[in-house]
């Protein structure tokens, strides 16, 4: 194994690639000590290397003779804790001593690691089995090596953390002493591996601190924006304030002459800008030896723009078009069960309500940035804080390959820790910009940083939407029919067909569809010219609010307790002709609803004074079941604060890293409440909000107390980055109604609208 950094490909073999996206490949290859230092060789804080080089057991695990175990994290870390959690799965099944584990960030390399993405809360369900198999395979090979050395049957062996034990003689051999032999063995077929009994877990289910926290408290340079590459220049990139606008001319020579500016040039879009999609757009790049100088020089830019197709977009126009469309016959029927129109006619009582929510911006705290070096030899090296290095046309590899005209094989992407993601960094526009600027600047390394204002103006926004509900009841308050005419945004696709924008849909099976005897969900689209994309819990973060609030209105109209009413709906049989219930298991949901009712003291809420109220909501998304109760205080002038949120979640049998799981739920609740204060509006094709002063983030003084509880069930574990967020918005809105009698039917909440006397 003294063969430097080369991989002995003659001994490489692949065992399997799993279908579940978390491909497992065990490669029997040997490398010397890796050059990986959190993905960025130039970063300062290199962890101390073991004295003797580690030996690769497979693509994820290397063990050094001194017992140090290096585990590679395959997925992007955006604050969801994946860099800690995936290695826990491996370490558990290999029976590693966690105190001897070091975790390093893998580069973007799907051939080696399988799919690499931070999105959809998929990492837990997709890796629960494959990553444990990686560990179990390593453990078996270590045991096989020990059996050979001791000349005993493998059945006589067991393991303790980082040791193989011969039970009869109590003879122990450390993993570090076995690795050289073990790495030469043929990896086992993962399907044959025996996994641990959960009762014997030593790592899964224990609180494991966020791996990089010690570096963070010391201010070590571990984020994308901290990347330093020798000889690099700092860049700012100015695009048209109207999405997709093209440059006619710019005062480049004037900018180049400014003190401290080392270069400036126009970058042209790669191909025609596609309305509503993120990629390389026209802009002016300004380079300097520090970023502030480049950014300040941009203030002197005079650019003549062709503002393009989106220049007339405005939120006021969206609202008036939506109101007109709501009056008309819907363009499309999304789902229809029974005869809602007939049932409404004979109903003893009907109610109607129109709901809306605004566009939102992701605004992760680390502004978009990327460091790239398009080298003279035709290769490209990229240091990107990204949620999606590969996969699809918007992955960094594809965007850079297309824009620069280089083969994907010539591109190296180091995935650097993201200062928040929330879906924003699934798009890689900033990465292709950095690569294009580096190339055009003469193949020098460039660190591109956006201003916060640029981030607000160039986001794949969470689209707004409009829902027009009607419900009918019989004399006993049973729901007989429900309809929703949903108004959203679309744009003609290449074939000329009006197609709904990304994340702008409302699923037709949204609860309580298929739980009421007659329902009809329909849709109308207006033209939208803004880029849109997934924001944490995409679709769910919007449609949960409107549906779970209208269900509250239905409960009041039916004269029923909002939780009783929901439990009755959940218990309803599926009506004849109804479609699948979107994978939601009603019994699991009813269970968490009942538990949150009990934990929150829901049934004692009648004693609350006016101005204080409790509201509830539940939601199934990303395979997770969450029910929440919020307690809100509203002053007479309408100033409001969430006092406490109780959350009960069922995400399966096992909470892999409880401290991080709770952190995700706590953060989701704060994030959801934050969204109730936020909006993005457009005028003349321009985003009107600029920074955190007009796009506020919730602060500590408005963050509620949180009781976050998990209610395990006998199901495979599922993810937690998203499903705890959607229900908090309607729970809070319903609590405001309980406190004041004022119904929240649009966001953000306007203080004067909920003032009371």
């Amino acid at each position: 194994m003294a063969d430097g950094n080369t991989i002995n490909t003659s001994r490489r073999f692949f065992l399997l690639a799993s279908a579940a996206g978390g491909g497992l490949m065990l490669a029997g290859c040997v490398t010397a000590a890796g050059d990986t230092t959190d993905g960025a060789p130039a970063l300062a804080a290199t962890p101390a290397k073991p004295a003797a080089p580690p030996v690769d057991m497979n693509n994820f695990v290397a063990i050094a003779p001194d017992g140090t175990i290096r585990i590679m994290n395959k997925n992007p870390e955006i604050g969801q804790g994946i860099k800690t959690m995936l290695p826990m799965l491996i370490a558990e099944e290999m029976d590693a001593d966690w105190s001897k584990v070091t975790i390093e960030q893998g580069d973007a390399d799907q051939a080696r690691y399988g799919n690499q993405i931070a999105g959809g809360s998929f990492a837990t369900p997709n890796h629960w089995v494959p990553q444990r198999q990686v560990g179990a395979a390593a453990r078996l090979m270590l045991m096989q090596a020990a059996a050979a050395r001791l000349n005993v049957s493998i059945d006589e062996l067991s393991t303790e953390p980082s040791m193989v034990v011969h039970t009869a003689t109590n003879k122990k051999i450390a993993y570090g002493d076995l690795v050289a032999d073990a790495a030469k063995l043929t990896p086992p077929d993962p399907a044959t591996l025996k996994m641990k009994d959960p009762a014997s877990y030593r790592i899964i289910g224990k609180n494991m601190r966020n791996w990089d926290s010690p570096k963070i408290v010391r201010g070590e340079p571990i984020f994308g924006i901290d990347t330093v590459v020798p000889g690099m220049k700092y860049a700012n990139f100015v695009k048209c304030p109207v999405f997709g606008g093209k440059i006619v001319s710019a005062n480049i020579d004037e900018i180049k002459a400014l003190p401290g500016v080392t270069d400036a040039f126009i970058v042209k879009a790669a191909g025609a800008p596609i309305p509503t999609k993120m990629g390389l757009l026209d802009g002016v790049a300004i380079l300097a030896d520090d970023w502030w100088t480049a950014k300040e020089a941009a203030k002197k830019l005079k650019i003549v723009w062709d503002e393009g197709v989106s220049k007339d977009e405005s939120s006021a126009s969206y609202d008036s078009q939506a109101a007109e469309l709501a009056k008309k016959t819907p363009q499309t029927s999304l789902s229809k069960v029974g005869d809602a129109a007939a049932a409404m006619k004979t109903a003893a009582k009907t109610i109607e309500a129109s709901y809306s929510y605004p566009f939102l911006v992701h605004a992760p705290l680390e502004p978009q940035n990327c460091t790239a070096h398009a080298k003279a030899d035709g290769t490209v090296e990229v240091w990107a804080p990204t949620q999606r290095p590969d996969m699809g046309a918007n992955g960094a590899f594809s965007l850079i390959s297309t824009a620069l005209g280089v083969a994907k094989e010539k591109i190296t992407i180091h995935m650097i820790r993201c200062g928040g993601g929330f879906g924003r960094r699934l798009d890689n526009d900033y990465a292709v910009e950095a690569a294009a600027i580096s190339k055009q600047a003469g193949n020098i390394p460039v660190k591109l940083i956006w201003t916060r204002e640029q981030d607000m103006a160039h986001d794949p926004y969470r689209p707004g939407g409009y829902h027009n509900f009607k419900a009918g009841f019989d004399k006993s308050g049973n729901v007989v029919a429900m309809t929703n005419h949903f108004v959203s945004f679309g744009r003609p696709n290449d074939a000329g067909t009006m197609t709904i924008l990304a994340s702008a849909n409302s699923p037709p099976q949204e609860f309580p569809a298929n739980y009421v005897p007659n329902h009809e969900y329909s849709q109308s689209l207006m033209m939208g010219g803004m880029p849109t994309g997934p924001l944490r819990a995409p679709t769910s973060n919007a449609v949960c609010f409107v549906h779970q609030c209208f269900i509250d209105e239905m409960a009041i109209a039916a004269g029923k307790d909002p939780i009783d009413f929901r439990l009755e709906l959940l218990a309803a049989p599926a009506p004849a002709g109804s479609a699948a219930r979107a994978g939601m298991n009603a019994a699991r949901m009813a269970e968490v609803v009942k538990v949150v009712r009990q934990r929150s003291g829901w049934d004692n809420r009648k004693s609350l004074p006016k101005g204080v109220g409790m509201g509830t909501a539940f939601y199934f998304s990303h395979q997770g079941y969450f029910a929440q109760v919020a307690k809100v205080k509203v002053e007479q002038n309408g100033a409001w604060r969430v006092l406490k949120v109780w959350s009960v979640g069922d995400v399966g049998s096992t909470i892999i890293n409880p401290t991080n799981a709770l952190n995700q739920v706590q953060g989701s609740i704060v994030d959801g409440i934050s969204e109730m204060h936020q909006k993005i509006t457009f005028d003349k094709g321009r985003t009107q909000q600029q920074n955190y002063f007009d796009m506020p983030l919730l602060r500590i003084d408005y963050a509620p107390q949180i009781d976050a509880h998990f209610h395990p069930s006998n199901n495979s574990p599922t993810g937690l980055g998203e499903p705890a967020l959607p229900p908090v918005l309607p729970a809070v809105a319903n609590a405001i109604f309980a406190a004041t009698g004022k119904r929240i039917r649009s966001l953000p909440i306007v203080q004067k609208d909920i003032a009371w006397t």
Binding site: G219, G260, N663, L698
Partner: protein, 161 residues
Amino acid sequence: MATYTLNVNGKTETVDVVDGNMPLLWVLRDKLDLKGTKFGCGVAACGACSVHLDGQVTRACVTPVSSVGAKRVTTIEAIGQSPVGQAVQKAWLDVDVMQCGYCQAGQIMAATALIATTPKPTDKEIDSAMQGNACRCGTYVRIREAIKTAAGAATADTREV
């Protein structure tokens, strides 16, 4: 071009900048390679760039380097040199505050300044001292707990429920 002499983390540093209006944030990050202080908004609206000037929490993103003078600049890289700063760092780890971690340098700087002047802060004092520091991940429950842990106080949230 202008030259400034600064006292950063106990060391004397001389920097050349094109313009004396260049904020301390970018002097720290791009001239002195101290990347721990973070850029979040550029307009003192998020607190990610918080440093101490003579012990006072200051937003480095709106502090021109020309205005710093002889004031002692302390950044996250040196916060562990004070007993309070060290206690805050330890509490942040013990409580496992971090999600993405990007705002936390600023949070730690603000918390350290708070405890240095108010050794046993109440919830109200925590709200007041920390409301300028945004956490996009929403780790406020833990920030509150970590401040109390660092201060050696009971961690229960005493605000109205």
